[in-house]
């Protein structure tokens, strides 16, 4: 099983012929992902690592049966790209692009709901189910098949954590980079809900950070709905108020979104918290 990404994803890459596109198509193919199409307007007929390029998503879908899109286009074209994919019937979207105006993200997240699609991101590294598929830009070599589900608002921090799990022999079912923006399509709650249902997943790791109340809501959700053990790490315990810490979403605004509040909420929900990112593996081993 695994969640959101597995052998059933037929992946189309929007922004396929750019530097990032070419590189990550190759990386995804190496991981075993079924990359079937690329889209760059005006470049139909070309190929990238054997993957055919189309002018429009619809043409790519019609020709290859793609059901998933990886969005790598620049921020100012991202909304259009997501709308195009949704209208062409794509049901799983992974939006890597960062710096998308959040009003754009709001619109496409709600339009995604209208189209019954799953949107992961924006401003995320994507998703990887070891042994099955990687849709995104996560480094392939850090993963190992297993039963820990990981959902995270941060990129490198997740790699760090996943890598430490793998080093200790703890494999992962699926790792989801949810994205560091204030508006994201798939939240901790969506991920928890999917992991709870997934037979392959035995425990869940959440990697949170300052800003917003997604962790607090996840904690409430865990209390009522999640039977599997949940572990968490929260970044930004020492971040000052009012400063944007790298991610657009990582900001303590008007006293809301502190790491303390998130840590307390998780503790109340029985979630075990790690002090250092690399501690998670030890917590799970216990």
């Amino acid at each position: 099983m695994a969640v959101f990404a597995d052998k059933n994803n037929k992946v189309l890459v929007q922004g396929a012929t750019g530097h990032q596109g070419v590189f990550h198509i190759s990386e995804m193919l190496d991981f075993g992902t079924n990359v079937v199409a690329g889209v760059t307007p005006g470049k139909a007929g070309q190929e990238v690592h054997g993957v055919p390029i189309f002018n429009t998503v619809q043409e790519g879908v019609d020709a290859t049966g793609a059901n998933t899109s990886l969005v790598l286009v620049p921020a100012r074209f991202a909304k259009d790209a997501v709308f195009e994919a949704l209208n062409a019937g794509i049901k799983t979207l992974v939006v890597i692009t960062e710096n998308i105006p959040f009003h754009d993200a709001m619109e496409f997240v709600h339009y995604g709901k209208y189209q019954d699609a799953i949107i992961i991101g924006p401003n995320c590294p994507g998703i990887a189910s070891p042994g099955k598929a990687k849709i995104g830009i996560l480094p392939g070599q850090i993963f190992k098949e297993g039963s820990v589900g990981v959902a995270s608002r941060s990129g490198t921090l997740t790699y760090e954590i996943v890598n430490s799990l793998t080093e200790k022999g703890i494999g992962q079912s699926t790792c989801i980079g949810l994205g560091g923006d204030p508006i994201i399509g798939t939240t901790f709650i969506d991920a928890l809900n999917a992991f709870e249902k997934d037979k392959e997943t035995k425990s869940v790791v959440l990697v949170g950070e300052i800003g917003g109340t997604a962790e607090e809501e996840a904690a409430e959700y865990i209390k009522e709905n999640i039977s599997k053990p949940v572990f968490a790490f929260i970044a930004g315990r020492t971040a000052p108020s009012g400063k944007r810490m790298g991610h657009a979403g990582a900001i303590i605004a008007r006293g809301k979104g502190t790491a303390d509040s998130k840590i307390k909420a998780f503790e109340k929900a029985g979630v075990k918290l790690a002090k250092f990112p690399t501690d998670i593996a030890d917590l799970i081993e216990k």
Partner: protein
């Protein structure tokens, strides 16, 4: 980007929301077109300026000149006042609160209004704040406006005026890609008209390219932060003395947290992001040097970015330009062994684990 009050008000006027007659004042001459009494207001991108002495009521020109010279140049919580707005006093019958902001959980704009305006909204009891969410697929609708308006105990004419204000304010919020628009207080005048006495307008940085009519304010950032922004480097100045360079915002934050755990004190948050461009690594180190930290802590996780590529960049900077503080490194991930060799060559101290390196950095900075 947070706009100064006076520029927020220019936008309000563009969206047909009334504001007091006023202008920026620098010299005596500037008062000639205004009618006393006036309010002088320091233009800073933060709240609480009233308490800091940044707002004064003046009854005549003499008064005005004196207070203006006091306010200009005043330091309000780190912001030097360079601009003062003078506005004619309004005839206040009632003070309301109105804002539109982003509800991250619902992923929708949130309208908040209260009949208790004029004070900090955080101090208004929850039951006196009325909330309504706007679905971005359909935008603001009459029923949204009706709900908010019906709660404010306004008479019919005022309700009509307020409805227009709310409708126009939402337009501004959407069309200018705002994170926040707040009017506090929004007053009902003696003659029944509705007027904005203050304005907070905050535009999403990522959308600034769509709003070329808005000149950027430079006051929010420190000079080094501004410099970093222009170079496309994520750089935040904090209070402490340890400079942290890491790749990825979450990892950088976690590194700062680890320092704190060992009683260290982060002074700079510098996120290299996904780069392995030696030029960018160089710029990052140069910026860091300018911030004069006591210790630099370089924490790298190599994923798509190879550790050794970054290490080469670091080595080049350090051997060519020198560095006058200790650099502690902790390297993990893709090609970490090669990277460690390179950095050792460059004379840097390598920590084995995150904890180890954080402890070393904290100890050295003390």
């Amino acid at each position: 980007m947070k706009l100064f009050e006076y520029r927020g008000k220019e936008l309000l006027v563009k969206y047909e929301i009334a504001v007091p007659n006023g202008k920026l004042v620098k010299t005596e001459k500037d008062f000639s077109t205004l009618n006393f009494p006036l309010v002088l207001k320091a233009q800073v991108p933060i709240g609480g300026r009233g308490k800091a002495g940044g707002i004064k009521t003046v009854k005549n020109l003499k008064d005005a000149k004196e207070n203006l010279s006091n306010i200009l140049g005043m330091d309000i919580r780190g912001y030097k006042v360079g601009k003062v707005l003078a506005e004619e006093m309004a005839d206040i019958k009632k003070e309301l609160y109105l804002s539109i902001t982003l509800d991250r959980s619902k992923r929708m704009p949130l309208i908040m209004a209260s009949a208790s305006g004029g004070m900090d909204i955080e101090s208004v009891p929850d039951e006196e704040i009325f909330k309504e969410w706007v679905n971005p697929l359909i935008g603001i609708q009459p029923f949204n406006i009706r709900f908010i308006t019906s709660k404010l105990k306004l008479d019919k004419e005022q309700s009509k005026e307020f409805s227009k204000v709310l409708s126009n304010l939402y337009k501004l919020f959407r069309e200018y890609d705002c994170e926040l628009v707040e009017i506090n207080p929004l007053i009902v005048r003696g003659d029944g008209g509705i007027m904005a006495l203050d304005s907070k307008v905050n535009i999403n940085d990522d959308a600034m390219y769509r709003h070329q009519d808005i000149e950027p304010e430079l006051v929010e950032l420190t000079p080094l932060e501004q410099d970093a922004k222009e170079k496309g480097i994520t750089f935040v100045q904090l209070g402490g003395n340890i400079g942290v360079i890491a790749n990825g915002a979450g990892l950088t934050m976690a590194t700062l947290d680890a320092l704190t755990h060992f009683k260290g004190d982060g002074g700079v948050f510098l996120d290299l992001g996904g780069t392995d461009d030696p030029e960018k690594v160089k710029q990052a180190f140069e910026l860091m040097k300018k911030a004069k930290p006591k210790v630099i802590f370089l924490n790298l996780f190599g994923g798509i970015t190879k550790c050794d590529t970054v290490a080469k960049g670091v080595k080049e900077v350090i051997t060519k330009e020198g560095i006058d503080c200790p650099v502690i490194t902790r390297i993990k991930g893709c090609n970490e062994t090669q990277a460690k060799e390179i950095l050792k060559d460059a004379g840097l101290i390598t920590g084995v684990t995150l904890q180890d390196a954080a402890q070393k950095s904290s100890d050295l900075a003390r």
